[in-house]
């Protein structure tokens, strides 16, 4: 029941729907008692030979009217109560999305997509069930059941009611026990089911090994065994599940029998009419449902309670990056001054960055190279305030990042990550993601700069091609170029390419970068890259290693210093020669380092 208390805020918010809904539901419950009453009247009148046509017509008219009103009211209460429940589901889904929108990437690392989705699907569904069917079964079992019993006691016979209801507690207890057993067995069956799930998963991931060892038949046999197991476990569930119907039927039958046997005595003694007895047995029939509903109720409430708790826990997580009270609302602009003494991720032991100090003047290009995990992406994350610096500060235009509103800060940046994420909408909408009102000409211009325009035109539907639709696959390089076009369309103050061209071939990369140099005069660009050719022209290049700046300078300076940069540069030249199939006849000695000046 406590879940109703937790949901009270919603019941209050939807006061009108719930009050009217429950009100009509109660009226329905009472009106349902009328047809048995009419049956009794007619029956008794027939028996006592007092039935006249007028009376019959009156009574039947009453019954017909009841039927019509019932139909109408049943329609109305469903709309009120179920409608409110659907609105709750809608509200919860919206709140979840709002909440996620405020969360930092940290949050999404800690919570897997599947987990979060389970909140928005199964849990929301369960809470919706509580607010709809839960309320209904509560009213039905408690209130309606109560009304029927009251009526049986007051209007017909309290003695007969007591006798007939004698077996009912047995049913309630039996059903409760079955529920407990079934729950246990069901859990076992589910575990067996998840075993075959794992088995199939293993089988499909290991398909190559299976085929090369000719394991197919053996696999089939062991699957058959597991699947047999599932069947056995499910049969155990079925053994209990099949008890419900017959048990209810047995108890109801006994109740009927008792009602008839003892009822007839009352009839003979004149304490009761035959019509009343019939009416009584009809009421008994009406009681079966509330009894069952009582059993369902606990199930629904239990599920709803667990799910609502999960949703509440999730929604209670606060964003880890917060804005100051009177933060600057104008977009960040100007020189970037980075001064990080040390930064350690939450829960990590070793610092991810140490002693990183440098200044990037407005309009300059900074190149960052280094092995995977050397701290390049961490630096970008701090720059965009995805996490707060623990020791040190980053300033843009003289103000600390923390002084800006988050949206003002983000407006300054155009960030293109390595794993370019595209939405399942048209290519045009993907490029115009940040500015849906952009003209087609602007979109195409951005696509040209990112060297993806021609690729798009070869697609059957061109810019209107929907990403990710059946048979539509974009290569990694194409996806990266589309997400670069998305950034270029916005022409941000500070463009960050975080290894964003890794899947693009060297020649296209060079073309894109030369476009960028031309277009981004006066604006700041930060590029992290594996391929050094992409950052040769940068005013400053830093080499990161284990969270520190290992080498710092421009291309020529770094080559001259004969460090890691110079050595990697040679290796990369060799590699690119191999990729091109050796470029027959190229006998350039590898050790000499040719370079072009920008």
């Amino acid at each position: 029941m406590s879940v109703f208390r937790d949901l009270w805020w919603y019941f209050r918010q939807e006061k009108r729907s719930y009050m009217l809904g429950v009100f009509f539901l109660l009226i329905v419950g009472m009106l349902e008692l009328i047809p048995p009453y009419v049956v009794r009247l007619v029956m008794d009148a027939i028996k006592q030979h007092t039935l006249t046509t007028e009376r019959l017509l009156l009574w039947l008219g009453m019954m017909a009217l009841t039927g019509i009103v019932l139909y109408f009211l049943r329609f109305v209460w469903r709309l009120f109560i179920f409608g409110a429940a659907y609105r709750l589901a809608k509200l919860l889904r919206r709140r979840l999305l709002d909440h996620w929108s405020r969360m930092s990437p940290q949050f999404f690392h800690q919570h897997r997509t599947g987990d979060l989705m389970a909140h928005a699907t199964n849990d929301v569904q369960a809470v919706q069930g509580t607010a709809g069917e839960g309320v209904l079964t509560l009213v039905d079992s408690m209130v309606f059941g109560g009304i029927v019993v009251t009526l049986m006691v007051t209007a017909i016979s309290w003695k007969l009611t007591l006798i007939a209801l004698l077996p009912m507690p047995v049913m309630a207890i039996a059903v409760a026990y079955y529920g407990k057993w079934m729950h246990e067995r069901f859990r076992i069956a589910q575990a067996a089911f998840s075993d075959i799930n794992d088995k199939v998963q293993e089988n499909i991931s290991g398909v190559r090994v299976i085929k090369s060892f000719g394991r197919e038949e053996r696999e089939r046999d062991s699957f058959a065994l597991l699947s047999q197991e599932v069947t056995q476990k499910n049969l155990a569930v079925a053994k209990i599940q099949s008890l419900f119907g017959p048990t209810i039927s047995l108890i109801a039958g006994i109740a009927f029998f008792l009602a008839i046997v003892f009822g007839s005595r009352f009839v003979i003694r004149g304490e009761m009419t035959i019509g009343e007895l019939t009416q009584f047995t009809m009421y008994l029939g009406l009681l079966i449902w509330p009894m069952l509903a009582f059993g369902f109720l606990f199930n629904i409430l239990q599920r709803g309670r667990a799910s609502y708790d999960r949703i509440r826990t999730l929604l209670a997580i606060e964003e880890d990056v917060k804005e100051g009270e009177d933060a600057i609302a104008t977009p960040a602009s100007g020189d970037i001054q980075i001064h990080i003494d040390s930064f350690t991720y939450n829960g990590a032991h070793t610092p991810a960055l140490q002693g990183v100090t440098l200044t990037v003047k407005k309009g300059e290009t900074l190149g960052i190279v280094g092995r995977t995990g050397s701290g390049k992406s961490t630096l970008f994350k701090l720059l965009m305030r995805e996490a707060d610096i623990t020791d040190g500060a980053i300033c843009i235009g003289g103000f600390s990042l923390n002084d800006y509103q988050l949206s003002a800060l983000r407006e300054a940046f155009g960030y293109v990550p390595q794993d370019s994420f595209l939405f399942s909408t048209t290519i045009r909408n993907n490029i115009a993601f940040a500015n849906p009102k952009a003209s087609q000409a602007d979109v195409e211009a951005a696509a040209r700069m990112a060297c993806i325009h021609e690729d798009i035109l070869t697609l059957e539907k061109g810019y209107e091609t929907v990403v990710g639709e059946r048979g539509m696959t974009l290569s990694g390089g194409q996806k990266q170029r589309i997400s670069i076009a998305r950034a270029l369309l916005m022409d941000p103050e500070i463009l960050i390419l975080d290894d964003a061209l890794s899947a693009v071939d060297a020649r296209t990369e060079a073309a894109i970068l030369s476009q960028l140099r031309r277009m981004r005069q006066g604006r700041t660009t930060l590029i992290a890259a594996h391929r050094f050719s992409g950052i040769e022209h940068a005013e400053q290049i830093i080499v990161m290693d284990e969270g520190r700046i290992k080498e710092h300078g421009n291309h020529e300076q770094l080559l001259a210093s004969q460090g890691w940069y110079a050595w990697m540069y040679q290796q990369q030249r060799l590699e690119s020669l191999i990729e091109q199939g050796g470029a027959q006849g190229d006998h350039t000695p590898f050790i000499q380092v040719p370079h072009s000046t920008p």
Binding site: M43, L97, V200, S205, R208, S242, Y415, E575
Partner: protein, 580 residues
């Protein structure tokens, strides 16, 4: 169509099914005799107010006895229904699983693992719901309704005629609802999957959304779909309220009115039997409950049909693994492999291999080198007959490799994959690979050959140590060695190595290299090599680029050529220097 095919799965259970329906008839008959007995009681004893002891005892005993019979049979019948349904689902699952076993690798290249798993498990589970709930409800309640009609005719044939109007009306109502709701249901399902797709996309793309400050727009667009889903739900609720329970109930009341009118008007002609009236009203109650139960199942029916469709789609898949050609049963004796002008394409458009020709003489080692995508793995895929070749020929000991029995290819050709995929089970089972011809001794020898025996003997349970999913508790080097031993257990004539690129420590690396050298002795070996240092003693090195052999020769010859191989060698030397 789908339903008919599904019903074919019931054929092996037809006897059991007939038994169940028989049980059902008995249970129903016993159940429906109850009201008739009460009628006899009311009309013959209660109204005349005569209560002879022994007939009444009989009547009461009969009532309770029949009721008990009905309840017991109900239970037996329900359980039997479950048993049949579960057996059908198991058969369906086995069929799908077996089908998948014999699909070609080209199929697995194309279909995502996740969707395949879900079809074998979740979709067949939905079929279970269909059989256990939907079908049993329909059969049970149909029998019950027939029983009620029969009982009505026994009571009063004239009044029972009303069922002839009632039944088509109910049936029509259900059909009408099904037609109307089908569309609404589809909309709800579509909107719900759209909601889920949007949400999961928002979670995955939240970084992009936040970076471009589109939170509000995304929220707005989501709210739109959320609203559409809500509206569809409301529409469905309205439809349910108009046509389902409330409609069935008003029909119930209307019938009640007709019955009362019948008795009320008939009262003047003859003495109405009150008992008949009681029984009739009671039977009517029993007739409408099944209707409500059936209508409740309609929506499940529609969901299950979609799942069943997906299962059958998979069963109809005909992208089978390539099969053996010809009637001969050639044997692999010496292990001479020859590729003759082999050209191959996965998709029929771009060739991944072009005009590949080479010979591996018995006992020789042929190494394949080249960067990612150059076609090395495709050569192995073809040799293992995972795919059919389109042009050219591969022969083993002079016979086309397509004419060998699968069994022969698998026992004589040992493949070591890059990913040392281990199965859940014990170490022994993983080495044996279900080949019962192998004795424990053979397995021990295989382990000794690759020198993984000392590692195994250190495990608490030795050979019987359990292996968890993918062997995650072992290091990658250990997994690699175990996968060597399972290949060597078959003592193959030909060894095919897809060298691991996994990072292992130097000591393990040395062990692996030693093991590989021992394995290669006396066997024809085709090896994909990433570290050129490991193949310096190969008899032939093929350098692949874009599906073509661009250089060939021994290590020394290739270095002397100063071509691609030479550059690769220099690159790796540089790398090793940097690491060391």
């Amino acid at each position: 169509m789908i339903t008919r095919r599904l019903f074919r799965y019931l054929i092996p259970h037809r006897k059991a099914l007939i038994g169940v329906i028989l049980l059902l008839f008995i249970a129903t008959a016993a159940e429906l005799t109850g009201p008739l007995l009460i009628k006899v009681f009311i009309d013959d004893y209660l109204i005349p107010e005569s209560f002879p002891r022994s007939p009444l005892m009989w009547l009461g005993g009969l009532y309770l006895g029949l009721h008990l019979v009905s309840v017991v049979f109900q239970y037996l019948q329900q359980f039997a229904f479950h048993r049949i349904a579960l057996a059908v689902v198991q058969q369906l699952r086995l069929d799908v699983f077996e089908k998948v076993q014999y699909l070609g690798l080209s199929f697995f290249d194309r279909v995502a693992d996740g969707s395949l798993v879900s079809r074998i498990t979740n979709d067949t589970e939905a079929v279970k719901e269909l059989f256990v709930n939907v079908m049993s409800t329909f059969i049970k309640n149909t029998v019950l309704m027939i029983g009620v009609v029969v009982a009505m005719f026994l009571l009063d044939a004239k009044l029972a005629l009303i069922s002839f109007i009632l039944l088509p009306l109910i049936f029509g109502l259900m059909q009408w609802y099904r037609r109307l709701s089908f569309h609404v249901y589809q909309v709800i399902r579509e909107k719900l999957s759209e909601i889920n797709a949007r949400l999961s996309e928002s979670i995955q793309g939240m970084g992009v959304i936040q970076a471009w400050r589109q939170e509000q727009r995304v929220a707005r667009e989501f709210a739109e779909i959320n609203e559409q889903h809500y509206q569809a739900n409301i529409k469905n609720t309205k439809l349910n309220s108009l046509l389902l329970r409330p409609a069935v109930d008003i029909l119930h009341i209307a019938t009640g009115i007709v019955v009362l009118t019948y008795f009320g008007i008939g009262v003047e002609q003859s003495a109405v039997q009150i008992g008949v009236m009681y029984a009739f009203i009671n039977l009517l109650d029993r007739m409408f409950e099944p209707v409500n139960q059936m209508t409740m199942q309609l929506s499940f029916l529609q969901q299950a049909v979609v799942s069943v469709g997906r299962v059958f789609e998979l069963l109809d898949e005909n992208e089978l693994a390539p099969s053996k050609k010809g009637e001969d049963h050639p044997r692999i004796n010496s292990g001479r492999i020859a590729f003759e002008n082999v050209t191959f394409s996965y998709d029929g458009k771009t060739n991944v291999l072009q005009d590949i020709t080479f010979v591996a003489e018995p006992g020789q080692t042929v190494a394949l080198v080249g960067h990612t995508g150059s076609g090395k793995s495709s050569i192995i895929n073809l040799l293992m007959h995972f795919y059919s070749i389109q042009q050219g020929r591969i022969t083993i000991d002079g016979h086309s490799h397509e004419t060998f029995d699968k069994e022969e290819l698998r026992t004589k050709m040992g493949l070591v994959l890059q990913d040392p995929f281990l199965f859940v089970g014990t170490i022994r089972e993983n080495i044996r690979q279900g080949n019962d011809a192998l004795s424990d001794e053979d397995i021990q020898q295989a382990a000794e050959l690759v020198q993984v025996d000392s590692f195994i003997s250190q495990l608490p349970k030795g050979m019987d140590e359990p292996v968890v999913e993918r062997g995650a508790t072992f290091s990658s080097g250990q997994r690699q060695l175990l996968s060597f031993s399972r290949t060597m257990a078959l003592s193959p004539k030909i060894l095919i190595l897809d060298e691991a690129t996994a990072h292992v420590d130097t000591e393990t690396e040395e062990k692996i290299q030693k093991a590989l050298n021992r394995m290669r002795q006396g066997r024809t070996t085709i090896a994909i090599a990433h570290r050129l240092s490991t193949i310096q003693d190969a008899d032939l090195i093929l350098v692949l680029h874009q599906g073509m052999i661009v250089e060939r020769g021994t290590h020394q010859e290739l270095l002397a050529q100063q071509g691609l191989y030479h550059k690769m060698y220099l690159l790796q030397q540089g790398m090793e220097r940097a690491v060391g």
